[in-house]
Symmetry: C2
Subunit: 265 residues, 2 copies
């Protein structure tokens, strides 16, 4: 049942626009960060999907629950502040009202993650603190300089990061995995964002190239953030190309989100 | 029952620190704005408290429900964005986590007000739009320039404005009055804000005078905002001194909030 639901959210194939090249670029970014790793957990068997044994599945790289939840919670709080910034800077009441519901859903996810930490006996604040400075730096980079960039950020980064943490939770206990799936799967990005951006792009086609570029920058920075959450042992670092399928799926879902805006990923 | 609950939240007496002078100052501010009024509603009898017949009770100055709810909702959204700004700029994870719950409660109030508009058959966005520019101007003025001022703003303005709209709802139908009371009465300002500010002021006594000044500015600007929500007929404008008791109660509650911080109101 859970597997079925999760499988439904996992893209079955990559798109056809030179994804492999982009994944390699992302993987090469990752390589530069490989000194910043945590201790691995040995897993007899992955619970995530039916990846080939030659590939690394995301669940094998999952940190222990406290670290997973602390990071996921702080990242969700960061997504919330980005959406709240979009509420504050919206040029019309319609936009403020629509985005307030996106902010509400993001806060709900944050509170759910904090509740999980408490349920497991951890102090939420100290579990989140190790991830504050890196997430804040990321947040400053991706905030966006106008209303449209803020909307793309709310849509793209929340989509990518929720996707990522749902997949990564495959390495937690089945019960925890199920809770995280239920909590993070609902799409934070409202239909409002897609409609608003499409109509703005239709009215001003030059916006399309600027926002497509912005989306590309976001995916790079966001996947680097995601990569830093993986527990990759330095001494036995997997061939980075074996990480590709993990990120190929995330990027394929991202590509569909950009398609919905009429933008090239 | 409702009356009992409301009465419990209404201060019974003013404080002893020259309040009358300050109320007169506020009332004189109001007089300068008296050209900007709405049409009055004639009410046979006030539902709010047991004011003397020589005094104007807030319920007699209540706009019709759509206007009341549209303004209260937009103001609540504005309170939310101020709290979310404090979440974003908090200097520590502890502060972000605590204020996220304040933001959540403010969003809950906003959504409740929007739900009331929908229940009465009104489009929430068009009901809020008339209040956008004046509220946004107010919001810019009261945002605060550092973490401590942001905290005082979240605490003082949310307290004053929720108080005000609960009292003003006395002029709506009993059912509406009861719903608004239940929705807006819970104090948005968390104990966290009081504890955080008290410990900062203890550690740096010079902060006290700056934040006391900031609180005074906030109360002036916020009561002017509140005054603009009243339906005061220009041709039969009540002697402004008759409005005093209305604002005396609000200011007394504000004074208790500042007392809780150890600051002079």
């Amino acid at each position: 049942m859970l597997r079925g639901r999760r499988a439904a959210s996992v893209p079955q194939r990559a798109d056809s626009r030179g994804l492999t090249g982009r994944v390699n670029l992302v993987v090469s970014f990752f390589r530069r960060r490989s000194s910043n790793v945590e201790l691995p957990r040995v897993r007899a068997r992955s619970r995530v999907g039916n990846q080939s044994v030659n590939r690394v599945s995301l669940g094998e790289l999952t940190p222990e629950a406290r670290s997973f939840l602390g990071r996921a919670a702080y990242v969700q709080l960061s997504i919330f502040t980005a959406v709240a910034h979009a509420v504050a800077t919206a040029p019309h009441t319609r936009g403020k009202n629509a985005l307030s519901r996106v902010a509400q859903l993001s806060l709900h996810k944050y509170e759910g993650l904090v509740a999980e930490l408490i349920r497991l006996g951890h102090d939420p604040v100290s579990a989140m603190e190790p991830f504050e400075s890196s997430t804040d730096r990321y947040q400053q980079i991706v905030l966006g300089k106008d209303w449209y960039e803020c909307l793309v950020t709310s849509y793209v980064t929340a989509g990518l990061l929720d996707d990522f943490f749902v997949r990564l939770s495959g390495g937690l206990s089945d019960e925890e995995n199920s809770r995280i799936f239920d909590l993070l799967s609902p799409d934070t990005a409202s239909q409002f964002i897609v409609t608003e951006l499409r109509s703005a792009i239709d009215a001003n086609p030059r916006l399309a190239s600027r926002l497509a570029l912005w989306g590309r920058r976001l995916v790079g920075d966001t996947l680097l953030m995601a990569r830093s959450a993986l527990v990759v042992p330095e001494d036995t670092a997997p061939d980075e190309t074996r990480l590709e399928p993990v990120f190929t799926d995330l990027i394929a879902a991202h590509t569909r989100r950009m398609d919905a805006l009429g933008l090239t990923a």
